[in-house]
């Protein structure tokens, strides 16, 4: 019996291995890069992660695209520049005659209307619907109308009436396909960065074949039938339900194969206008959850490009890059800020009084923080100490004001003036954060305890619980971070407008809101930036948030890889990549 086990086991082993071996032998792609996690979604209107953007923007193409080096908008699927009316409110795009989908169909203006309309629909749960409601005429009304509908239980008759109204209501939105090649966009206010936005994933077109996968009322639960939803499998290249041909895209590449948690393979879209000039015909995006293993694979030459190196020893990688010992390691100064939110809105949090509703207290806490020490001694990755919300030198023409510097004496006297001399009677301060913030939060706690005499406790939570507590203002101080979506100060400053869904501090200042509104209506770019600068000075003075640092991202590009440029958006179009060994 036992001996037979010893015979069966190796036989079974060989059989399994043989079975497993079937189907091997796929050739290496021309270019391989690492994704630090699996793609969360390839649906352009749902995605919000940089690594997802990277794949999407290589397989789709918006009306404009970002320059591979400067990230300035340049021509994409539409002729560049578009015609802009004198008042800056109407953009007329001419879709390129040679713009093609990966099945050879022409890209039409209607494809953009379809894509943008999906991005506004509550059923797709788009994080970026605000980019449409904030800028495009009539979009706010349409989205409000739809959100009301999906949060109301409707009878079948009401549903039919609502469905009949959908197209006419959308007709009031300033997105019009005049014909196959002409798309006219009407804006609420002049938007100097609109061509930057049209390169963003939420503004990508969508091929008409997706309509084959739209779910009908009958398939949806009765209380959510007003939702417009699509079969989530539509992003698969090999999905064919209901005659669906599989994912069709219009970018330089098409998605050839996607194996969950293993890799995604991109191949040149044969119908792309410059397909013949693309050097790397196949691209593999391989998933490495463990960045240390990814780094070893990079060192061994298994992969050519690491767009993230968030390892515990990243300060050492940054040092190697700074000293020039590893010219293939680069530090990208990213359009992003790491900060703390002070709860400015709730007088009582968790049964304790909230002293941070007072500006003097927030200012005192801010004055204590030695940001240079955090950036250089604690992290050492090449991040920059932040004295403004908008990163300096990141947005051409915008020079942010400088906020409070480190001044411990002033901090102590300010806290005393606020009624808490030496931290007396000050309630215990909880810092809400996630596990990745542990080091920074410990240092902050120490600085406040030593200088102000207050008691600080760290409240580490899992990401989802953290996000919910933060959104519900269940904190005194909470870690925040913000990645700019487009090259304009408002991508940061809008977050602190009263009632903004991402205003976690609950800050509300009519003067600040008025300046933002005034800037939105301004037609002169210099005046506009001056207004935004004044607005930012207000928040740096009121301190609803305490900027700590502007992120730096270490990346690695093999020396033989040409045409890939480190930039603030971590935007890497692979169509320009050449391998020169």
């Amino acid at each position: 019996m036992i001996r037979s086990l010893f015979v069966i086991c190796p036989t079974l082993l060989i059989a399994v291995l043989t079975l497993y071996g079937v189907g091997e032998g796929e050739p290496r792609a021309d270019f391989r890069y690492v994704n630090p996690s699996e793609i969360h979604t390839l649906d352009p209107v749902r995605m919000s992660w940089t690594q997802d953007f990277r794949v999407a923007l290589n397989i789709w193409e918006g009306l404009t695209v970002w320059h591979p080096r400067t990230t300035e908008p340049i021509g994409g699927a539409a002729e560049f520049p578009p015609h802009v009316s004198a008042d800056g409110l109407t953009y007329t795009f001419a879709i390129r005659e040679d713009a093609r989908w990966s099945n050879g169909d022409s890209v039409t203006a209607e494809d953009f209307v379809r894509g943008w309309r999906r991005a506004m629909e509550p059923g797709t749960a788009a994080d970026y619907a605000f980019l449409f409601t904030d800028h495009i005429a009539g979009a706010e009304d349409y989205v409000t109308f739809r959100r009301q509908a999906v949060s109301t239980s409707m009878s079948p008759d009401e549903l039919d009436q609502h469905a009949a109204m959908l197209d006419s209501r959308f007709g009031d939105v300033g997105i019009d396909a005049i014909n196959d090649r002409v798309l006219v966009i009407r804006l609420n206010n002049p938007c100097p960065y609109f061509l930057d936005l049209t390169a963003f994933p939420a503004f990508l077109p969508c091929h008409q074949s997706i309509e084959l996968l739209r779910e009908r009322y009958g398939n949806l639960p009765t209380n959510s039938r007003a939702l417009v939803v699509y079969d989530t499998q539509w992003t698969k290249p090999d999905y064919h339900r209901n005659g669906y041909p599989g994912l069709i895209t219009n970018g330089a590449y098409r998605l050839a194969d996607w194996k969950f948690k293993r890799r995604a393979r991109l191949e040149v879209n044969p119908f792309f206008r410059e397909a013949d000039t693309i050097a790397c015909r196949t691209i593999d995006m391989v998933v490495y959850d463990n960045i240390s293993a990814a780094l070893m694979a990079y060192e061994a030459g298994d992969v050519d490009f690491l767009p993230a190196m968030n390892v515990p020893y990243d300060h050492e990688l940054a040092r190697l890059s700074r000293t020039g010992e590893r010219p293939d390691f680069h530090i990208c100064v990213v359009l992003a800020t790491y900060f703390l939110n002070f709860n400015c809105t709730m007088p009582v949090v968790g049964g304790r009084p909230n002293p941070f509703t007072e500006r003097a207290v927030r200012r005192a806490f801010s004055l204590v923080v030695d940001k240079d020490r955090i950036v250089n001694l604690v992290l050492g990755r090449g991040d920059r100490a932040a004295y403004s919300f908008v990163p300096p030198d990141a947005i051409p023409g915008y020079d942010p004001p400088t906020g409070l510097a480190n001044d411990t004496d002033a901090a102590r006297s300010m806290l005393a003036e606020a009624g808490y001399p030496s931290g007396k009677d000050f309630p215990t301060v909880g810092i809400l954060h996630t596990q990745t913030d542990e080091r920074v939060c410990q240092v902050l706690a120490r600085m406040w305890e030593e200088t102000l005499g207050v008691r600080v406790e760290l409240r580490s939570k899992e990401t989802k619980t953290f996000a919910e507590d933060k959104a519900d203002h269940r904190f005194l101080i909470a870690r925040g971070n913000w990645y700019g979506d487009y090259s304009d100060p408002t991508t940061f400053l809008d977050c602190l407008a009263s009632g903004n869904g991402n205003n976690d501090s609950g800050y509300a200042n009519p003067e600040y809101d008025a300046l933002l509104a005034e800037a939105a209506a301004a037609t002169d770019p210099a005046d506009r930036f001056a207004l935004l600068r004044r607005a930012e000075a207000i928040i740096l003075n009121d301190v609803p948030i305490l900027p700590i640092l502007h992120y730096a991202e270490p990346i690695a590009i093999k020396p033989y890889v040409k045409g890939l440029y480190p930039n603030a958006r971590l935007w890497f179009p692979f169509r320009y990549v050449r391998i020169e060994r």
Partner: protein, 306 residues
Amino acid sequence: MIGLLVRRVILGAVTIACIYTLTFVMVILLPGNPFQQGERNMAPEVEQALRARYHMDDNWLYFQEFLTGAIRLDFGPTFTYSDWTCNQILASALPVSMLIGLLAILIAVMVGVPLGVWSAVKRNGWLDNLGLGFVLMVVSLPTFVTGTLLLIVAAVQLHLAPIGGWGTLAHLPLPALTLSLPFTAYIMRLTRASMIETLSADYIRTAVAKGASRRTIVWKHALKPAFLPVLSYLGPATAQAMTGSFVVEKVFGVPGLGQHFVNAALNLDAGLIMSTVLVFSTFLVVLNTLIDTLYAWIDPRIGRAV
């Protein structure tokens, strides 16, 4: 033996039903919004509509829906990776984990049992002490250390295997070996202890007195009863190994099931949490039933007792 099997199947079904209910209760008690991507806040109307769409606004309905789906082997959507269904994720991850787990258990049995027998036969000799040292080392070192060491030595220094990832035969040995180490150590000690006890039994003394060769005594008369504790350990061990190891998968970048146990809970991905728990518990119940049946077959007294 048929009676034993029927009883175990019924008990198994009840166990799985209880596990499902408990998991469900824990999932609905978890705070947080499972639909949220990143840290951007979601409009409340959108969250409400999505909860309605997936029946998460009505716990009892959701409980029934998921259960009926699970019986039909349809575990529904995931929220973290919305382009994939739970079934697709399980279909992609389970074979990987099963393959590595199976290999790990095979290595553990093929190495652990002979080493345990030799240790018992050569009790307190140099082989036994060496084995004890091995066991201590493997039990003391967590797999993220042994895995990383193996990765650095075998893959980076000696170029014997690729550095992490998945897709070819060459990707198999390192994670399987790493995963097998703690099982090998445990099986070795279990076999040793059991063998020592068996070798001092009366019937072994009788066999020695009758002049049976040492080889026959050890491998024919002693190993069979001594193997029983190992066999009962193999049920849960195989289930544990075959449903994935978070650490080994993380170290070697293996796209197995283990990571989904942890990540699904962190992401509040209700469907994926419940489907992975159900898969794991089903494996455990099925393998335990099989092992118990095998146990009764090897030692008929057990079957008769039931």
